[in-house]
């Protein structure tokens, strides 16, 4: 890929192809570029972390040094230069806001552009938003109300300070620090993220929501999310993302760990629309994420994702069905357009008896993009009566894009029942003509058809997210039939 110049960036910004392509001018407290043990110590010290966490980071870093970047995914890209990344960047203003009014106006404006308007959201939807801008949480609302119920919902850094025993007990238990190349990198250099704990028997009364946003140029964002649902509790967690347009590929390597203890349920929904690169495939976010949930007895974890952004996506939200009767679900819509590449899917690891998993994956490829589903269903020998149902559909919008399905099934117990269905179809000219003949223009027709195609997944999203997701699908596919 040729070097991208400032002039070209300026031009791209003029084009306004990416609606959220703006940069906020807030002074940052930055670490120097590059990665070594000193940088890790710097991050840890900056965040006033306990010794055990520094050790966690350093162990991860040392393991990472021995690892090589995975190449098995069906994606092609220029590997990031890990010494050319700034691993710590926090808005300089470190004091905590007492009220929403104290928040930096420019930051508020950013959120307005994103369409977030916290006040409105708080009032209208009852969503508590933990807004992460460049790795540091700046506003957490509704905390008091949640506190009454004993629910903890805060930034990861705050959790490390306030609830170190909980963090230490669960962190790295689902995604071990040496799990894979990017998880190890994250474990070494993560700067912030979200932490959520729902106490025994508590049903979280609102959707917990975090908006992530990559802001600082050249800053990889390495956030960590840890959600613990204690016995018999329930939580629905929303994660939504937008990133400003950028002149170079930005690395994003997050780790999300979910723990559903006995009889608990976690619903985790993601809408991801990071900058996908321009229409010639220049720029865009590299999204290499490790998401995994641990299901204890009678518990349930449900992943729902709508992925429309990023230049390269490498992401497999998975469930380890460790406890008997536990349930894992994965609902995904992945849209790729222009030169985007996505290799996404899930792993359902059945360990306990009577465990059930459902996989519904809807891929939509347009332009010259490549969209792959990669999934593993693994039934271990003690998993009596395990059940899996997988459905992987691909919709092609052009003759130049690609859709691929890589389903892996490993079964070591003969009582298991595994079903896999897969379809590939091209968006029908006859469908579009039918809509046109009813007075519906092509853009709306595509939007209708695509949203209909993805309905099973969109239906899993909480209401306010579903609306946003539908709009995103439409925006992502504008003018894409060919």
């Amino acid at each position: 890929m040729a070097t991208y110049t400032e002039n070209e960036l300026a031009k791209d910004l003029e084009n306004k192809e990416y609606e959220f392509g703006f940069t906020t001018n807030i002074e940052s407290d930055k670490a120097p570029k590059g990665l070594n043990e000193d940088i890790i110590r710097f991050i840890s010290a900056k965040k006033n972390e306990p010794e055990w966490l520094l050790k966690f980071r350093l162990d991860a870093y040392r393991t990472w040094l021995e690892m090589t970047e995975p190449e098995w995914a069906h994606v092609k890209y220029e590997k990031p230069d890990f010494q050319d990344i700034t691993y710590y960047s926090a808005p300089k203003q470190t004091k905590k806001y007492e009220s929403w009014d104290d928040v930096d106006p420019e930051m508020k404006e950013t959120m307005t552009k994103l369409g977030i308007s916290l006040e409105e959201q708080k009032r209208l939807t009852g969503v508590a938003v933990d807004f992460v801008m460049d790795s540091v949480s700046v506003a957490t609302s509704f905390k008091a109300k949640l506190k009454e119920l004993g629910i903890i919902f805060c930034s990861f850094s705050e959790a490390v300070q306030e609830y170190p025993e909980l963090v230490q007990k669960y962190m790295g238990t689902v995604v071990p620090k040496q799990d894979n190349f990017y998880a190890a990198l994250n474990s070494a250099v993560f700067t912030d993220g979200s932490f959520c704990y729902i106490p025994k028997g508590v049903r979280c009364p609102m959707e917990l929501s975090t908006y992530f946003r990559i802001n600082e140029s050249g800053t990889g964002q390495f956030e960590r999310t840890l959600v613990v649902a204690d016995e018999g509790s329930y939580v629905s967690y929303l994660e939504g993302c937008t990133a400003p347009q950028r002149d170079e590929n930005q690395l994003h390597a997050a780790v999300v760990e979910l723990i559903a203890l006995d009889d608990a349920e976690i619903k985790y929904s993601t809408v991801q629309n990071w900058f996908p690169g321009d229409k010639n495939g220049k720029g865009g976010v590299f999204n290499f994420v490790t998401k995994r949930g641990m299901c204890h007895t009678n518990s349930k974890i449900s992943w729902t994702q709508v992925e429309t952004g990023s230049a390269v996506t490498w992401k497999y939200p998975s469930c380890v069905l460790k406890g008997d009767n536990s349930v894992g679900e994965f609902y995904s819509v992945a849209v790729t357009n222009n030169y985007q590449q996505a290799d996404t899917g899930t792993k359902m690891i059945h360990l306990g008896k009577n465990t059930k998993s459902t996989i519904i994956s809807k891929g939509i490829s347009a332009g010259e993009s490549q969209n792959s589903y990669r999934g593993l269903v693994q039934i271990h020998k003690n998993a009596e009566n395990a059940r899996n149902f997988s459905q992987c559909d691909s919709l092609l919008m052009t003759d130049r894009c690609g859709a691929h399905t890589f389903p892996y099934i490993e079964c070591k117990n003969s009582t298991a029942k595994i079903e896999h269905e897969a379809t590939t179809s091209k968006i029908g000219e006859d469908q579009i003509f039918y809509c046109l003949q009813r007075g519906i223009d092509e853009e709306k027709a595509i939007s209708l058809i695509v949203n209909g195609y993805a309905k099973e997944v969109l239906n899993q999203l909480p209401m306010e997210f579903a609306v946003e997701a539908q709009k995103l699908l439409t925006i992502s596919l504008e003018g894409s039939v060919g």
């Binding site: 006859d430 039918y434 003949q437 009813r438 007075g439 092509e442 209909g452 195609y453 309905k455």
Partner: protein, 251 residues
């Protein structure tokens, strides 16, 4: 309402329409009959705006506008409706959502406000009765899993909802049993008024027992070769198309 003059059309260099003339006035019902491959469905597709055809000659005037210059969706919004021979399935999109979108597109085109949910539902109830369409079908995905008869009734239901000026029914009778045929015909007859017009394309005279045309035209080899009153349909039923072909050869 619509005036077609000397229309010539090709598909992949093969001439399908070879100088077709037809005039339909408001309040009239015209039947177009003809053997397989005569160009009946091509005519319907061209009027609706399907892009697979190349118009090489001729003109179509639709209510004072040059129809051939209009976008497909604008033809629909201006009141041209095609009941498809093979209605298309759109999985995951409810009939209701589809129709509401269609109606609002039309209203927006006319500078009107979107229809309210209340009015829309009242309209759905009223019009679905007309074609005895099960209310459940209205909320199912567009044509998905519908029987052949249900699909055709759904076309007429959509027509009733959209209240077109000119409706073209493309072999709406194909695949219908006699009860469904009666229901569909009843729907069409109820919607008939002095301000709208209908073109019924059909193979068989059967449908015309129920939808009585003012004029019958025979389309053969890309042209209207014979026109007459409704009795012409009976004659065709009796004699088949061979005598027309024979007449053509003689001429």
């Amino acid at each position: 309402m619509i005036t077609i003059k000397n229309l010539h059309a090709n598909i992949e260099d093969k001439a399908i329409l070879k100088g077709l003339n037809l005039e339909v006035k408001a309040g009239e019902v015209h039947a177009i009959m003809g053997p397989n491959g005569a160009g009946k469905s091509t005519l319907a597709s061209i009027l609706a705006g399907k892009e697979d055809y190349e118009i090489t000659e001729g003109s179509v005037d639709f209510d004072g506008e040059d129809l051939l210059e209009m976008e497909t969706e604008d033809r629909a919004r201006e009141g041209l409706f095609l009941a498809f021979q093979y209605p298309v399935e759109i999985p995951g999109v409810s009939n209701i959502n589809f129709l509401r979108t269609a109606i609002n597109e039309k209203r927006e085109h006319k500078g009107e406000d979107p229809i309210s949910a209340k009015d829309f539902m009242a309209l759905v109830r009223e019009k679905s009765k007309l074609v005895e369409l099960d209310a459940k079908l209205a909320s199912r995905s567009v044509n998905e899993g519908f029987s052949g008869g249900e699909k055709k009734r759904n076309e007429i239901f959509q027509m009733a909802m959209l209240e077109p000026k000119l409706a073209i029914l493309d072999e709406t009778d194909s695949g219908l049993d006699i009860d469904a045929l009666r229901i569909v015909a009843n729907g069409v007859n109820t919607l008939k008024s002095k301000d709208n017009a209908t073109i019924v394309i059909t193979h068989y005279q059967r449908l015309l027992d129920y939808i009585v045309p003012d004029f019958v035209h025979v389309l053969y080899d890309g042209r209207i070769v014979k026109s007459g009153p409704k009795e012409l349909a009976l004659e065709l039923e009796e004699k088949g198309y061979d005598w027309i072909k024979a007449e053509m050869v003689e001429a």
